[in-house]
Point group: C2
Chain length 399, copies 2
C-alpha cells in the first residue's frame, strides 16, 4: 500500500478532509488518485475498469488528455443505433483493458491503455431522431440562451452522440479515437472534435489541483464523497433506465489571454476571488480554506468582492454543486497573431436545469471574469449508466 | 545511481551495444535516457541544461511533446533581428531552468519545466532578408522538388525563423509557446504552427523505440555515439560561426491510415522490411539485428524486398546517416470523415545536400511506402550552435 493510497484511502474513510475535496473519495477513486502519480513506471499499463454501475471517465481522476468527438446520427431506426452502440461497446471493453479492437491493424498501439476510458453521451437529438423523446432523461435539457456572454459557433456546438476518449498517453487517445471514429462513420456525420489536456501524469504532485492556461488553480471545489456524488452527480433510482447516469454540459470557453495579461496581479486575484499563487481565497490563507464573504480587507470592504468569480459561482450553497472536469485547449494562433486558447469546460450533474443553469445565469449576469472569457461552443449530453455485463452502453434506453 | 543510469552510462562507456543505438550515448544523453522514465516523480521538475556547445533539443532524448512555430521576418535590419534573438534567448534561458520569462502573468506555470528545451532555427530567408547570404551555412540548402511524391501546401512550408518547443508536459509547452510567440510577434508574421506528440513519459519502457500512428517502431537506426554525432550531425570546425550547429529538415507527411488499413499484415511488413510486431528486420529476429539484404525467404527471394522502405532508405551506408526525431500529429478528421494524421518528420544532419537529399531521392523514386504517405509540408533550417555564456542564440552569425 503506497503512501498515496494510504492518504486517499484514509480520506475516503474519514471524509471531508482537504484531500478528499480534490478527488472523489470513493474506493474506485482512491485507486484513481493513486494512479495520478507517475512514480510507479506503469503509466502505460494502468487500466480503469470498464464494468460498473456508472460509466468510467466521469469521476475517474482526470486523465491528462481527452478528445471529445460529437456526431449527428444519419440513421434513425433504433435497431441501427443499437448496432452502433454494440460495436462501440465492444471496442471500448477491449481497448480499456489494453486489448485491440477487432480489425485493428496496429494492435501494438492498444497495449498501453494508460488509464484509457471511453465515455458515451446522448444529445437531445438522439432521442428525437430515434423517436424516443418520451424516454429522454428529465435531467437533460437544452441550455437557455445567455445572450450577454455567448458567441456560440455551430461548429463547436450540439451533437447527437458524444464519444469522450481520455487517457494519460496521447498515443492511445489518438489510436482509440481512430478505431472508434472508423466504426462510427457509417452511422453518422461528424459534427466537431475537441482536444483537451491537463498536466502530464507525474508533472505535478498526485492529487494537486491543476492550473488552467491563465495560471489559476482550477477545480478546488468539487463534490467528492459518495454521498455528494450520489445526490449531485448521479441520477437516482427514480430515473428509470437512466438511474446511475449523469448529464454533461460541455462549453468551449475562449480565454482572451492577451488582454488578461494587461491586468496587474492584484486585479487578477480580485476578479477570481482567489490568489493565483496558491489558490487561497482572498479571505483566507490556504487553497482549501472555506471562502468567508464577510471578512474585510484592509480598507474595510469585503476581501472577496461581490463580482468575484467564486462569489457569483457559489450562489445558494452546495446542494446545487456540480462536478467540474475542465480541460485546456490550445489551438494555432489566429491569422492576426492572437492566441486561440481556453478551456473545454465540462460539468457533470444529475439535473442541468436545476443545477447548472442557475449557476450559469448568475455568472452570465454578474461575473467580472466574463470580460476575458467567451463561450464559443456549447453542448449537452445524457451520460447513460454503465453497461450491463455482456450488454452495451445505453442498453436501458432501447430495452 | 539508478538502474537506468547504470545501464545507459555503461552503454556510453563500452559503446556499440544495442542500447547505445537508441539514445545518443554521450554523457548528457545518458542523463536524458534516465530522464525518459516516469518512475521518479520528477516529470515536472526535470530540466535540460540550456548552456552548451550545441543547442539543447537536438540530441536530447525526445520529449513527449513538440510545438514547431515558423515565422517570416517583417524586420530586415540585422540589429533588429539581434534584438529579437536577445529577447528569445533570455526567455529560453529562464524558462528551461523553471523560471518565468519577464512579464509573465502566470509565472506559476513556468515552475514545471518538464525537460523543456527551446531550439531556434534560421531558414534560408533569414539570411536573404538580413543581407547575410554570404554567411549562410553550406550545409543549409533548399530541397529540390520531389514531384513524384510531394503535394506541398505553402501553409505548412518554409519560414525564416523556427521556434521548436519541446517538453514532457503539454502545459509548459503551451505556456512557453505563448510567451515566445508574444515576444516574436512584433518582428514577424506567423507562417505555420505544428504540434507533435510521442508516448507520454513513462508510458513505454525507458529507451524503448516509440511507434508511429501506423503502429510501426520508428527510430531504431540513428547515429548515437559522440563520434557518429560529430561526423554526421554537427557542423565541424571548418564551418566558421556555424561550428557546433546542425540543419533540420522538417517534412509534414500525411499518412493515409484508412487505405493502409486495407493491407494485410504480411503486406505491411513487406512494405517496410520490418515486422510491425517487434521491429525486427525480415532477415532477422530482433529489433536491433542488422538487416541482411541477402537472406532469402521461404520462396528463395530476398526476405527484404528491393522496394522495402528500409532497403531504399539505407542506400550507400552509414556515412550519410541522419538523426531522425519524428513526432506524430493527429488533426481533426476531414469534412468527408477521413483521418488527418501523420508524422512531423524531423532529421538533423551536418549537410542537407550531401546527406538528406540522396536518401530522399531514392525514397521518392522507389519506396513502395509512398503509396500511403504524402509530404504536404517542407521546410529547412540552420540550427545555430549553443549560445555563448551571457550571449544569445545565433550570436556568431551577427558577430
Amino acid at each position: 500500500m503506497s503512501r498515496r493510497r494510504a492518504l486517499f484511502g484514509g480520506a475516503a474513510l474519514v471524509g471531508g478532509t482537504a484531500a478528499a475535496t480534490v478527488w472523489p473519495a470513493t474506493g474506485a477513486a482512491a485507486e484513481d488518485a493513486d494512479a495520478r502519480s507517475g512514480d510507479d513506471a506503469t503509466v502505460g499499463s494502468d487500466t480503469v475498469p470498464f464494468e460498473g454501475v456508472h460509466q468510467a471517465g466521469v469521476v475517474t481522476a482526470a486523465q491528462a488528455f481527452s478528445t471529445f468527438a460529437a456526431y449527428d446520427l444519419t440513421v434513425t431506426e433504433p435497431r441501427r443505433v443499437v448496432g452502433l452502440l454494440r460495436i462501440l461497446t465492444d471496442d471500448i471493453r477491449r481497448m480499456t483493458a489494453g486489448r485491440a479492437a477487432l480489425a485493428d491493424t496496429a494492435p501494438e498501439l492498444a497495449a498501453t491503455p494508460a488509464r484509457l476510458t471511453v465515455t458515451l453521451g446522448f444529445g437531445p437529438g438522439l432521442f428525437t431522431t430515434t423517436g424516443l423523446t418520451d424516454r429522454q432523461p428529465t435531467g437533460l435539457t437544452e441550455l437557455p440562451a445567455f445572450p450577454a456572454i455567448d458567441r456560440l459557433d455551430p461548429a463547436w456546438s450540439g451533437g447527437d452522440l458524444l464519444i469522450k476518449i481520455s487517457a494519460d498517453d496521447p498515443m492511445i487517445v489518438a489510436h482509440a479515437h481512430r478505431m472508434l471514429h472508423k466504426d462510427t462513420r457509417p452511422f453518422t456525420r461528424l459534427r466537431w472534435t475537441q482536444r483537451g489536456f491537463l498536466n502530464a501524469r507525474g508533472a505535478i504532485a498526485a492529487g494537486a489541483t491543476g492550473r488552467n492556461l491563465m495560471g489559476q488553480l482550477d477545480g478546488t471545489v468539487n463534490p467528492s464523497t459518495d454521498a455528494e456524488l450520489d445526490s449531485r452527480v448521479w441520477a437516482g433510482a427514480d430515473a428509470g433506465w437512466f438511474a446511475g447516469g449523469t448529464t454533461l454540459v460541455l462549453r468551449r470557453i475562449r480565454m482572451d489571454l492577451d488582454r488578461w495579461d494587461e491586468l496587474d496581479p492584484a486585479a487578477m486575484d480580485a476578479t477570481i476571488g482567489r490568489r493565483q499563487r496558491d489558490g487561497s481565497p482572498l479571505s483566507g490563507t490556504r487553497e482549501y480554506d472555506e471562502p468567508d464573504f464577510t471578512v474585510p480587507d484592509a480598507t474595510g470592504l469585503p476581501a472577496i468582492a461581490d463580482f468575484a468569480h467564486i462569489k457569483v459561482a457559489r450562489g445558494d450553497g452546495p446542494a446545487r454543486q456540480i462536478l467540474r472536469r475542465p480541460y485546456n485547449y490550445d489551438d494555432t494562433p489566429t491569422a492576426d497573431g492572437g492566441s486561440d486558447s481556453g478551456q473545454i469546460f465540462c460539468s457533470y450533474q444529475a439535473d442541468i436545469a436545476a443545477q447548472f443553469v442557475p449557476i450559469q445565469q448568475r455568472l452570465a449576469e454578474r461575473d467580472l471574469f466574463n470580460q476575458w472569457t467567451t463561450p464559443i461552443g456549447s453542448a449537452v449530453f445524457a451520460i447513460p449508466p454503465g453497461s450491463p455485463a455482456d450488454g452495451y452502453l445505453g442498453q436501458g434506453l432501447f430495452a
